[in-house]
Symmetry: C2
Subunit: 388 residues, 2 copies
Amino acid sequence: MTVTAPKGFRAAGVTAGLKASGKPDMALVVNDGPDRHAAAVFTTNRVMAAPVRWSKQVVTDGRVDAVVLNSGGANACTGPQGFQNTHTTAEKAADVLGISAGDVVVCSTGLIGEQLPMDKIIPGVDALAGALADDGGHDAALAIMTTDTVPKEAVFTGTDAAGIEYTIGGIAKGAGMLAPGLATMLVVLTTDAAAAAEMLDAALRDATRVTFDRADSDGCMSTNDTVVLLSSGASGAVPDADAFAAGLTQVCAELARKLIGDAEGAAHDIAVRTFNAASERDAEVVSRAVARSNLFKTAIFGKDPNWGRVLSAVGTTDAAFEPDSLNVSINGVEICQNGGIGKDRSLVDLEPREVLVEIDLAAGDAEATIWTNDLTHDYVHENSAYSS
Amino acid sequence: MTVTAPKGFRAAGVTAGLKASGKPDMALVVNDGPDRHAAAVFTTNRVMAAPVRWSKQVVTDGRVDAVVLNSGGANACTGPQGFQNTHTTAEKAADVLGISAGDVVVCSTGLIGEQLPMDKIIPGVDALAGALADDGGHDAALAIMTTDTVPKEAVFTGTDAAGIEYTIGGIAKGAGMLAPGLATMLVVLTTDAAAAAEMLDAALRDATRVTFDRADSDGCMSTNDTVVLLSSGASGAVPDADAFAAGLTQVCAELARKLIGDAEGAAHDIAVRTFNAASERDAEVVSRAVARSNLFKTAIFGKDPNWGRVLSAVGTTDAAFEPDSLNVSINGVEICQNGGIGKDRSLVDLEPREVLVEIDLAAGDAEATIWTNDLTHDYVHENSAYSS
C-alpha cells in the first residue's frame, strides 16, 4: 500500500539528524525500470524553494530515476547557496546510485529561510542508499513527516485490456499550508504500468486538479509543493489512458483525504460540495470561498450550523446564482431554503468529525467539492508556537 | 467628536429590547438641514441584507433625511418578510419625523437569518424620536455596538476659502467580518458643509477606498455593510472638493483604525505596508494577501517574526516583483533581504500591540497599506461561541 507496492521500485527512510526530535528525516525512492518515465506538478507560488526550481528542470525531459526527500528544512528563500545545496544533494544521490544528477528530483519540507545542514544531508544520502529495499516505501513515508501525526500511503491495483495487473502506489506528507495549487505537501506516486511520460503527465494533471487542488485546509500555499509520478513499466501492463487516470485519481483522492484528516489542529474535516452550478468552475469557486471563510470555519469548530456565514461567503463570488434561490444543507439538514430560514438548525448534528456542507446554486447541473478543516484553538496554538 | 458635532443634526440611542443584554440597540440620526444631501456605499456582497437593498434605493436621488439603525439582528437572508420589516421601519420613522419613507436609510447588524422582532422595533422608533438631541451622537454610537467593546467616533474641522468653519463627524461599529468592500460595519458620517450629493459621493468613494476598504480583519465580507454620509449645509461653509475629501478621509481613517483596534479577539493590530510597487493596485494586492494569511496571522499572535510566511503569501500574487529582490521588515528590522535571510530575527520586538510589516517589492514607487489583526485563541473562541 505504498510506493514500493508497484514492481521496479526500491525506497528507504533514515534519520540524518535534521530534526531535533531524532525522528527519520530523509527518504529516497528509486525507479529500477525498465522504464524511467515521469511527470510532476509543482507549487504555483512564485516564491518557490530551491528544490522546486531544480526539480522542474529535472522533469522537463520526462525522465526521473530517483527522488530524494528531506523533512526538517524547506530550503526556501535561501538564495544561491540554497540552490547549490539542492544541486549537491542531487549530485551525491546520482553518485551513489550510478545515475545522472539531471534525473534526480529533490524535495524538501520544513522551515523556510534556513540553510540545510549539508554535513548531515550528504551522509544521509549514503545511509539512504544503503537502506534501499523492495519494501522500503513505508520507511520513506515516515521520513517525510513534519507536523503530520500519521504517515499517508495509498495503493490502487488495475488490469489492462490483456488482463495484466498493474499497481499505482503513493506516499504523501502535509498537515498545514494546504491550499490550492497543491498544499505544503510532498507526494511521490509510483506505478509499474507501462506509460509514456505524456500519458503520465496528462493523468497526473487530471488527478491533481480534482484531488490535491481541492484540498484547502487553511488557504495558504506553500513554496515547496511537489507531486511526482514515476513509472517503471515492470508489470508489463499497458493500461488504457482513461483507466489509468481514474486509478491515479483514486490514489490521489485517498492521499488528499488523509492530508485533510491530519491537518494541524483540526477538529472537523469538512466537505463543501456545491451543486446545481452553472459550471464546474462556479461550483469550485463557491466551495472554495466557503472553505476559506474563517467565520464559517470557527462556527463549525463551535458545532454551530451557521448557514448565514455560508451565504455571506457565497455572496462574495461571481458564480451564477440568485440569492433568493440558494439552499444550504449541513449534514443532510436543509437549514437554508430559498436564501432564507429553512429547517430547524437544532436538527444538525455536528458531533462527528466529518461534516458535509451542500450548497444548491439552482443554476445548472455542475458540481465540485472542496475539502477543508475547521479553525480551532489547536490550529492557532500549533501555528503560533511552531516556526515553519 | 461625533455625528452631532456638525450643525444641523440630532441623534439618539435607546434600548428597544433587541439585545438579551438589555444594552442600547437602536439609533437614529436626523438631518435638520437646510440641505439634506447624501451619498452612501454598501457591501458588494451579492447576498445583501434587506436594509441594504432598501437603502440603496433611498440614496439614489442623493437625498437622505434620517438614518435608523439597529443592532441585535442583521435582517439578512430573511426573504420578503425581512424586506417588508425594513420598509415598515422606514415608514414608522418617516411618520414620527414628518418626512418621507423614501428618504430614510435603514441599517441593521447582528445575527443573519432571523426576523427582527417588529413589536420591539416600532416602539423603539417612537422612543428614538422622543430622545433626539443635539448632542445625541454618542448615544447613537453606543446603540450600534455588537461585539464592539468601545464606541467609535471621530471628528474633523476645516475651513473653506472664506474662512468659514465646517465640521465632519462620524460614528462606526464593527468588530469582526471586517473585509474589503467595507466590513461588518455600519458608519454614519455627517457634515455641516454645503456640498452637492455628487461632491459627497466622490469624496466618500475616495475616502472609503483607502480607509475602510483597506481594513481587513478576517477576510470575511458582511451582508450588511453601509457607510452613509449626510450634509446639512448648516455651517454655511462651501469647502473645496479636494479639501473636503481629505478631511473626510481623515475621519474615515480614524474610524477604520478604531475598528481594527477593537477587532474580535485580536492581540495585535498589524499594518502591512507594501512599497516600491509597480502600481498602487499591486501594493494593495500584496498587502492583502499577507493580511489574509492565517499562518502569518497566527505567527504574529505567537510573536514570531516569521518572514517565510510573508514571502509565501507574497508569492501567491500576480504583482510585479522578482523573488530574489524582495525585502521584508517587521517593526523596522529588515529580516529578509533579497528574498533570503536578512538581519537576525531575534532583533524584532513583537511585544507592542501595533505591528508594522513592510514589504519592498523593488519594482516601482507605489505603495499601499492594509490594516489587519492577528489570529488568536480569542478570535476562535468568540467566533465559535457567538452566533452571527
